[in-house]
Symmetry: C2
Subunit: 136 residues, 2 copies
C-alpha cells in the first residue's frame, strides 16, 4: 500500500472532479469524471457509484483502477485495487451522503455502491521532466 | 470511425485540459491530463507528447486510448485507435506549434511526437441516467 501526503489529500479534497480510469481485461481503457469522492484514510479513498456503466463492468471483471486529479500544473495519479460494497455500514453511510448531496443540488441522487480504492502506488502527472515519476 | 458533432468539437477546443487514458495489454489503466491537443478533422485529433512516460509505453504496446473531456455536467469520451508520428510534415508542424506554446508560456517545450487519434466510438460521460451511453 502507498500513503498519500497531506498535500495530496488536500488537493484531492479541493478539486471538484477527479478522473476514474478502468480497463477491460484485454486493455481497452475507460475514463469518467467523478465528483462523489472522499478520503477514508491515507491509503484509502471511496467513490460512490450513481451512474457507472462501463466503469462498473470493468471494475467487476478487472478490479484495478487509476484515480487522477490535478489543479493547474500540479497533479497525481493513484494506482489502486478496488472492492465494491453494496451493503453494510460503509455503504449505508455513502447512501445517506449521496442522498444529501442530491438534496443540496436539487435533483435526486442515489448511490448504487461504494467503491473502495486501496492505493498501491502514486505517480506525479504534473507536466515537466518529472512527469510520470513514481512518488510513493 | 465516428464523427464528432459541432458541439463536441467546440467543447474539446474550449476545455484547457483533456484526459488521455491508456492501458497495458493486461488491463492496468493509466490516465494523465493533457493540454497540447487539437482537432485535425471530425474523426481525428492530435495530442503532442512532451512528457509521456507510462502513457507512451502503453501506446506503443497497446495502440488504443480514450480521450475524455468535460465542463460542468457535460462531457464526452472518445474511444480511439492511435498512431505515433515522430517525423514528417505533421510532426514538424506539431514541433513548431509546441515550441511556440513554450515561448508563450515562458518555459521551453519540445514535442517528442504527434499522437494521432482516430475516433472509433463516442460516449457521453455527463452524470445522469444516460451516463456512459454510446452517442456516435
Amino acid at each position: 500500500m502507498a500513503k498519500m501526503t497531506e498535500r495530496m489529500k488536500e488537493l484531492f479534497n479541493k478539486v471538484p472532479t477527479a478522473v476514474l480510469t478502468t480497463a477491460t481485461l484485454d486493455g481497452t481503457p475507460n475514463a469518467v469524471p467523478v465528483g462523489a469522492k472522499k478520503i477514508i484514510d491515507d491509503e484509502t479513498i471511496l467513490i460512490s457509484d450513481q451512474y457507472f456503466n462501463k466503469t462498473l463492468a470493468n471494475l467487476k471483471s478487472n478490479p484495478q483502477a487509476a484515480v487522477t486529479f490535478w489543479e493547474g500544473r500540479e497533479g497525481y495519479q493513484l494506482k489502486c485495487s478496488i472492492t465494491i460494497e453494496t451493503q453494510g455500514e460503509r455503504y449505508e453511510e455513502t447512501a445517506k451522503w449521496i442522498e444529501a448531496l442530491g438534496n443540496k443540488a436539487g435533483h435526486p441522487l442515489q448511490s448504487k455502491g461504494a467503491v473502495i480504492f486501496k492505493i498501491k502506488e502514486i505517480y506525479g502527472v504534473s507536466p515537466g521532466p518529472g512527469a510520470g515519476k513514481q512518488l510513493v
